[in-house]
């Protein structure tokens, strides 16, 4: 059994004049929570559609579980659960019936117990008889997750799974992702443009923009490899400004508003600058790092814009 769950090589998709995905290569390993990041229109959903054989690639190869997708489509799809974009269901059927139908098509156990167990996992057990057209967007999103988990897949592909959910719902989905990864050993491919969400759950990630890979690697490495935006709130702003203007730190200063000095710093420079202020009798009231993937992501995508 291979440890590479998804292996994408030189994947491209051309829609008339638009190249939605351009020469994309990526690897997802067993047990990964793989963040697939990019702004809207980056090519994330197109890639996911190719992974699920909803659309055919113009060029490139996809292997999932070590098998070529084109030749072994059904074997592969049997072990994948997915949500692709917004969760649409047969609105004229109940949630239970939707899951029963989808379960039967997946060739899985569709006993009442199994379906109810899955609905309980996403908190929809009390509304199992209601027609899906009466569901809110958030409830449909939960049902989308339920249908992805029903047949106990090894690989779960989630395309923007928290879209339309309230903060509590978003938190629950994040917890569910971590539970599936840590407790159930599932491999998760998580597409999102909410970077904070990925930062909290993913161990590896790729950032996609305009159909091409910007960066790929471990989330932690990518974060540490870059400067952080750090705000220092100081007690004596005139003295601080004079001091900064006279030395190396002026190169690191990005902006200043009142007592807030924003620097671009390497992680190890934060404590050095703090010490420098203190040694020069400038009180430091607060140090606020903005070390987030979002900052990093925006930097990358802005460069392209």
């Amino acid at each position: 059994m291979t440890d590479k769950i998804i292996e994408v090589s030189n994947l491209s998709k051309q829609f008339k004049e638009v190249k939605a995905v351009n020469n994309l290569s990526l690897n997802v390993f067993r047990g990964d929570v793989f963040g697939f990041l990019g702004p809207n229109g980056a090519g994330k959903s197109t890639t996911i559609r190719m992974l699920l054989s909803l659309i055919s690639p113009t060029e490139g190869d996809i292997k999932i579980f070590g098998k070529p997708l084109k030749a072994k489509r059904n074997d592969i799809l049997r072990k994948i659960g997915a949500i692709v974009e917004k969760p649409d269901f047969y609105g004229y059927l109940s949630a239970f019936k939707n899951l029963e139908i989808l379960g039967k098509l997946s060739g899985t156990n569709t006993s009442k117990n199994k379906i109810m167990e899955t609905l309980e996992l996403v908190g929809l057990e009390k509304r199992f008889k209601s027609k899906v057209k009466t569901y809110s967007h958030g409830m449909k999103q939960r049902l989308g997750i339920a249908q992805a988990l029903l047949h106990d897949p090894d690989l779960i592909i989630l395309d923007e799974p928290t879209t339309g959910l309230d903060p509590q719902g978003m938190k629950e989905i994040r917890e569910l992702i971590l539970y599936l990864s840590k407790e159930k050993n599932k491999t998760i491919f998580l597409s999102s443009h909410i970077l904070y969400e990925v930062e909290l759950v993913a161990n590896r990630m790729i950032i996609l923009n305009k159909g091409t890979t910007q960066v790929e690697g471990y989330v932690e490495d990518l974060l540490n490899a870059n400067e952080l935006k750090v705000t220092f709130r100081v007690g004596d702003k005139e003295k601080a400004l004079k001091l900064i203007n006279e030395n190396y730190w002026i190169k690191k200063l990005e902006s200043q508003i009142e007592d807030r000095f924003v620097f671009n710093l390497a992680p190890e420079e934060i404590s050095v600058l703090n010490k420098y202020f203190v040694q020069n009798d400038i009180p430091v009231n607060a140090v606020v790092p903005m070390r987030s993937l979002e900052e990093y992501f925006l930097k990358l995508t802005d460069k392209e814009a």
Binding site: L54, R78, L93, I101
Partner: protein, 279 residues
């Protein structure tokens, strides 16, 4: 495959639009029957007025068979709409609802999916024709009883003995089911092409109406193309009410119609298999 056909049939019969056809027939047929009950004698008298100068008609000519025969004549234009209403929705409806994504990410080949949907559509179509047969023939016989069937053609009048009619209707309805299957296949093909269910319904009806008009007008240009229009063969059920029956002509019509069913389905399956699902 049977499991998927069952699922598709379940979905079809859980939709309100599916029952429009059955309800329309359930309303239309009794209306015609009641109208014939009230004014049938006068209509029959009008139809046979010229013949009454040469023949004396005896027996029960206004009967369930005659009513059913008249209703079958309405089949060509009206029933196709009811068929297209469901068949045109089979694939495009999934696109409109966004459920293609759920369906196609299952471990079932696209060919199996499209074939199952097609069979489900054909089963619906046949049930609709069966419903028409039950109501027009069954209810007609209950209301008007059985009798001899008078069939007036351009140059001949045929009166079938009451014992010689029922089997003709069975075959005629069987043929009608095949004709309507062509309509269902055409709507299904259009359904594979687009992502909105209205398009296939309207397109199918447009094709049927244009073809029927061309098939009916007897001018040289149209007569030259009539053999190539499937609608020219859809009315061949009338051949079962000839004496003797031209079985060779019926067989030819059946083959042509069945060929259309296969062609439309084959093309739909080819398109669906290669289709990028973007909805």
């Amino acid at each position: 495959m049977i499991k998927i056909i069952n699922i598709e049939l379940y979905k079809i019969f859980k939709k309100w639009r599916t029952y429009i056809g059955f309800i329309a027939i359930a309303v239309l047929v009794p209306i015609i029957q009641v109208a014939m009950l009230i004014e049938g004698e006068q209509s029959l008298d009008f139809m046979t007025r010229n013949l009454q100068q040469s023949f004396i008609f005896v027996g029960n000519l206004l009967n369930g068979y005659l009513i059913s025969y008249l209703i079958l004549n309405a089949l060509t234009i009206h029933i196709p709409f009811l068929v297209a209403l469901v068949a045109g929705d089979l694939l495009a409806g999934e696109a409109t609802a966004g459920t293609y994504r759920l369906l196609i990410t299952r471990p079932v080949s696209r060919f199996k999916l499209v074939t199952s949907k097609f069979f489900a559509g054909i089963i619906y179509t046949n049930l609709l024709v069966l419903w028409l047969a039950i109501l027009s023939l069954g209810l007609g016989i209950i209301i008007f009883s059985v009798g001899e069937l008078i069939v007036i053609k351009t140059s001949t009048v045929i009166i079938f003995a009451r014992g010689d009619v029922f089997w003709r209707f069975i075959l005629a309805y069987g043929f009608a089911a095949l004709s309507m299957s062509v309509v269902a296949s055409l709507a299904f093909l259009f359904s594979a092409l687009v992502e909105n269910a209205i398009g296939p319904i309207v397109s199918t009806m447009a094709v049927i109406i244009v073809f029927v008009i061309i098939s009916a007008i007897e001018i040289n240009i149209f007569e030259a193309i009539q053999p190539y229009l499937f609608t020219s063969y859809m009315a061949s059920w009338r051949l079962f009410f000839d004496d003797p029956i031209d079985f060779a002509e019926i067989a030819k019509s059946c083959l042509i119609l069945a060929g259309h069913v296969l062609f439309f389905f084959g093309l739909a399956a080819y398109i669906f298999k290669r289709k990028d699902i973007l909805t």
